[in-house]
Amino acid sequence: MYKIILINIHELWLKGKNRPVYMNVLKKHINKILKLNHQGEVSFFKDFQRLIFVSEIPFQDETISAIRKIPGIHSLMLARECKKDLESITPILLEEMGKFGLEEFSFKVDTTRSDKTFPIFSPEVNKILGGEILEKFPKAHVDLRKPKIVPEILILSKFIFISVHRIMGIGGLPVGMSGHLITLLSGGIDSPVASFMMSKRGCSQSFVFFHSYPFVGEEVVEKIFSLSKILGQYQSGCRLYVIPFGEIQNLISKKCREEYRTVFFRKFMIEAANYLGDQIGGDALLTGDSISQVSSQTIGNLSILDKSSWRPIFRPLIGLNKGEIIEKAHEIGTFETSILPHDDACSLFAPLRPVINPSIKYWEKFSEEFQIKEDLLNCVKNAKVYEISPKGILSLLDKN
């Protein structure tokens, strides 16, 4: 149990003059998570591009795993501090090493001397402390290539930190630095993965689900809730819009050629998502499309759908195989929820032979004749809106 967390920032070298802004956004996000998860008072320091959080009481495991999910963090180090002299390091370091309960292990002391005024150079510190460890644990040995334990010593301007636990974050950029996305969730495996990937790239998001009630039931919404709760943990507070879409789908089905149903459903979902984006501010749409995975994701269908959007459509999974997507879904913990059986689209609507190479001529003619802007705006207006806290708690927002 540690009272100090050091945060190493990812991709910091890329940012140049933006760096202070990035640091600030990340700091705010971490503070938000701490406020939601941690009981004690926390003080904050910045030292040589590291964020340091010091608490009066130890950080719980749940808090640490919540912080791990914050985009932009390269790694977290759970640390102890000591006075700025070499003698103070040794007892703490040996105590920390002892906690592993091992006799035989390989290790490599890794010292970072950020404070260049510190009188002893890093290699020397490594050597001295390595010697102390070997003396206390005679069966241990130094391995510079593949050490089992890497005790890290950080010599900063005011403190020395000792850490034997470095936990990797998800990397990427702090949320909010890369614009706002309207994320189309379907309840399947892919869209949650797409959402995660763009959270990691620093995009804040609003989730959208098109609910085809009464053609499909309420179970699918429960599933979307569960997925949103997981995805919301990579955001610093976001919203879910459940847009009623059953009537629109039936309306489209009555007018368009059967084989075009699915693509036209998607066209009008994209339009509705754009209208929502107009209202709440969205820079781009996000979908979980992977090229040619299903008939509506052929290059012909995707290209034609792009014409309906007045925002760019991001498709981060476009070049991934299903297996790769599934692997990611396991990693972020959405897979088990995604595969719960549900009716995502009513079987009544499913065309017998869905179109693969849509005719531009028919597409344009239908789009011209079938104007439902008002209906779409109405659907967006009637959406149920839910707040999702970064802790993954979902609550219905009273729009009044």
Binding site: V216, E219, S253, K254, L340, H342, L348
Partner: protein, 380 residues
Amino acid sequence: MLYLDFAASAPIRPSVLRILEESFRMDFANASASHKLGREVAKKVENCREFFLKSVKGDSLYDLIFTSSATESNNTIIKGIKLKEGDKAFFCHGDHPSIVVTGKNLLRTGVLVEKIPLKADSQIDQEKFLTLLDDKIKLIVLSEVNNQSGVFNDCGILAKKIKGLNKEIHIHLDAVQSFGKFDLNLEDGLFDSISISSHKIGGPKGVAGLFIKKNLQIVPLLEGGNQEFGLRSSTLSVPLILGFETAFLECMENREKKFLLAKNNFLILREELKKRIPSIIFPFGDVGTSSPFILVFAIPKISSDILLRHLEAKNIYVSSSSACSSKIKDFNLSYVELGLPLDLNKNVLRVSFDERVNEDDIFYFIKTLDEIYGDLRHLI
């Protein structure tokens, strides 16, 4: 709102609510207590018991115990009568789970469990059934009205034939869907036990009944204070029992007239739906073989959960074959057992009501369903 799912649970009757309120307030004493208050509430229960027994002409041959649900009543018999390894028991596998599941579990004790044969219209094939009877058979469970199909079996006639062949067979009747609607006459003592339920007739949930032949030996499910002749230990819920009685009382007022009213609604439904939706199928027989309080139909190619939600969106509530199991892509096994073709398995809707649903309601339902069908027919 139009509620048409009475076979699942009927709305509580206002008269019952009044009794419940009063009794919860006044009858708080424990009916097993020896003081005056206790004796008074115990007396109320005994009067109530007598009323039930006399109403079904069962007072000389039967006892009535109050249980918490018809599921408990069915369990009490199926688990409680003494069957030994090698004995045979007959069930209809399309019946309520409290019969089918409990029945199938008898297999574990070495009891042979057999299916009661059904005809194409899913009525019991009496002739065939009687040929299957032998002296190993110790238990037969019959349902007067099947809850999923609404199919009615004249179990009195059947029981008479069975007892004619073998007096020793225990015949248990599940009268849950027929009680308070059909005439129940236990004068002949043909059944050995009968389950009835309160909430299906507008009484409170949490109370049901089990008529059993006097001196019948059963192993109780619940042991303790020896209430209910030692067959069901538990403090009696006097208000629920009185509520049940009130609901039954109301059902018995002009019972035959109410039956005719239901029959009229049933016939209107059948005729009008057929007129408007020509492809509609009524898979379970006609008014002669069905309870008039339950109408089952299927519209080919439209799965019933979709119709159920479209009706629900219009504030009309019915029951569907795939309502609670739409997540599970399996078939509804009761309907498979009842002989429904597999391609209709997920298309069945059940409309059920009692005398409180009038002709206007029925026409409103027909009109709404017709509109929904019109809105969806381009998809099939």
